[in-house]
């Protein structure tokens, strides 16, 4: 599903990603951890083709990402849902409109939008907040809207770059339950995080990166450096 084959992307020597090999199967749930500056966001950006690798190959689903022409990039991105630490909701749109927006920009028919948006809002558990604007929602609720938006076009992969980074622990666990649930419905989930307790309690595959290199890749608890807020 996701394959990094000897991928190197160095901003300068020792900074970025250095000869990374990763294989993630369809339907897996994977944590990507490591100290600040390790190269986690670089990994995500390479997957989203925000960046191109210096060398190596990146394959996601049917797409050979590093060989993708610019014209094909939008089509490829539709297969990937993305969630960020800062939610990135549009402040002047309601929860419903924020999710519908993701379908509108792909010219999905109105009937499909009216059917699918409520379904996905109910899946993430905020049907009752559909008409609220982001500033009227709690952080966890905003992140649920963002997840709904990432999922509404049925991506094969959900990428989350520190989705709980701005949330208190209790709320964070709610989001983790949601991501787990989404994963059980068949979506591959790749989550970047600094939250050691979440990683070690979830019993999922853990890939740890340090200074651009993969230093740990298993379901075993990871005890190395993670940086960030250690709870």
């Amino acid at each position: 599903m996701i394959k990094f084959d000897h991928v190197t992307k160095l901003y300068r020597p020792g900074v970025g990603l250095d000869d990374v090999n990763v294989n993630i199967d369809k339907g897996e749930f994977v944590f990507l951890v490591g100290p600040s500056g390790a190269g986690k966001s670089t990994f995500i950006k390479l997957m989203l083709k925000d960046l191109d690798p210096d060398t190596g190959d990146i394959i996601v689903g049917d797409y050979h990402v590093n060989k993708l022409s610019n014209r094909m990039v939008p089509k490829y991105r539709r297969k990937i849902g993305t969630v960020f630490q800062d939610f990135k909701l549009l402040p002047k749109k309601t929860a419903y409109e924020n999710v519908a927006f993701a379908m509108e920009v792909l010219h999905k028919p109105g009937s499909l939008i009216r059917k699918q948006v409520p379904q996905i809002l109910s899946l993430v558990g905020i049907s009752d907040k559909a008409d609220k604007y982001p500033h009227e929602l709690a952080g966890g609720e905003q992140q649920r809207v963002a997840i709904a938006r990432a999922l509404v076009n049925n991506p094969q992969v959900l990428i989350a770059d520190e989705p709980t980074g701005n949330l208190d622990p209790a709320t964070a666990w709610g989001i983790m339950d949601l991501l787990d649930q989404i994963n059980m419905r068949g979506t591959t989930v790749l989550m970047v995080t600094h939250a050691k307790d979440i990683v070690n309690r979830m019993d999922k595959r853990i890939i740890a990166i340090d200074r651009g290199r993969v230093i740990h890749d298993s379901k075993q608890a990871y005890e190395g450096p993670m940086g960030g807020d250690e709870e």
Binding site: V73, P74, Y76, R77, R78, A102, V105, L106, N153
Partner: protein
């Protein structure tokens, strides 16, 4: 789709007004460029028209005959000139003919010539040549006869006009290219303000997989509206300016070179089309430039 187009147009006006300082600078810079283009265009087009008229009507060399030359001498010279290669016909023009032609050309002011006592105009031979290129050799041949006091032809004039036109075209193009680039930069900086204000929206659209042209849409609308405003102002201004020019010097120009200026209406319509096309392109181009960084992948 239609409603979203209206929505985008409305949003574009909101943004243009919100950043009105920058918007005004953009409009002004496009306007200045279009006005310079318009003036160059007016001059070039009129010179071209004049050149064409001169070429058609004056594929001729006129040689003036010394006063008191006998009819027989004239006929001899005429015959020799007719035998020259490139000469299609030679017509004798008496002093009286010359005066009549001049009166016609002067039109309403023709009566002024009535006050002349003796006819001061010389008789001449009008030599028609196949093309103006033959005029030079025919003129120098005719000039050698003793009975010819002066030779006049228009090749020099036409060549000079063509050179001036070329020079103006090239100078105009260089100035234009420079101004186009300046305008694009100014416009792109204006739109960059909108782009920054909507950076989140662009990011989301990008990550959701919207097409680049879809993402550019609203910003291009803004650029095109800026270009459109500038081009309409420029079109109005150039129409007024040209009307003044025609009113002020049109008649004199006609009297001197017997060629009219291009009509105000024709000029305005054509310039307006050019202005709108160019103004909108610059606006659109500026908006593409302003988003390059956001959409490179």
């Amino acid at each position: 789709m239609i409603s979203s187009l209206f929505y985008n147009i409305k949003q574009a006006f909101v943004q243009i007004f919100r950043n009105r300082g920058m918007s005004a600078a953009s409009i002004f810079s496009i306007l200045a460029m279009l006005l310079i283009l318009g003036l160059v265009f007016i001059i070039v087009v009129n010179i071209n028209l004049f050149t064409e008229i001169v070429k058609q009507d004056y594929d001729q060399v006129e040689v003036f005959i010394v006063d008191g030359t006998s009819e027989q001498q004239v006929q001899e010279v005429k015959a020799q000139i007719e035998a020259q290669p490139g000469v299609t016909s030679v017509e004798y023009r008496s002093q009286e003919d010359a005066l009549k032609i001049m009166k016609e050309r002067w039109g309403e002011s023709g009566y002024l010539l009535d006050s002349l006592g003796d006819n001061p105009l010389p008789a001449s031979l009008m030599i028609s040549v196949e093309s103006l290129d033959d005029a030079g050799s025919v003129a120098s041949f005719a000039g050698k006869f003793d009975i010819i006091e002066d030779v006049q032809y228009y090749k020099d004039t036409v060549d000079k006009l063509t050179r001036i036109t070329h020079f103006l075209q090239i100078a105009g193009m260089i100035i234009m290219a420079f101004l186009v680039i300046v305008s694009v930069v100014v416009v792109s900086n204006t739109i960059k303000l909108t782009v920054m204000a909507r950076a989140d929206e662009i990011h989301i659209m990008k990550y959701v997989g919207a097409n680049n042209w879809f993402i550019r849409g609203p910003f291009m609308v803004e650029g095109i509206i800026i270009g459109l405003i500038a081009s309409l102002i420029a079109g109005g201004a150039i129409a007024l300016i040209y009307k003044q020019i025609v009113a002020a010097v049109g008649d004199q120009v006609f009297a001197i070179v017997s060629s009219p200026l291009i009509s105000v209406q024709y000029m305005t319509v054509n310039l307006l089309i050019i202005f709108v096309a160019l103004g909108c392109s610059i606006g659109a181009w500026g908006s593409i430039v302003s988003m390059r960084r956001y959409l490179k992948a």
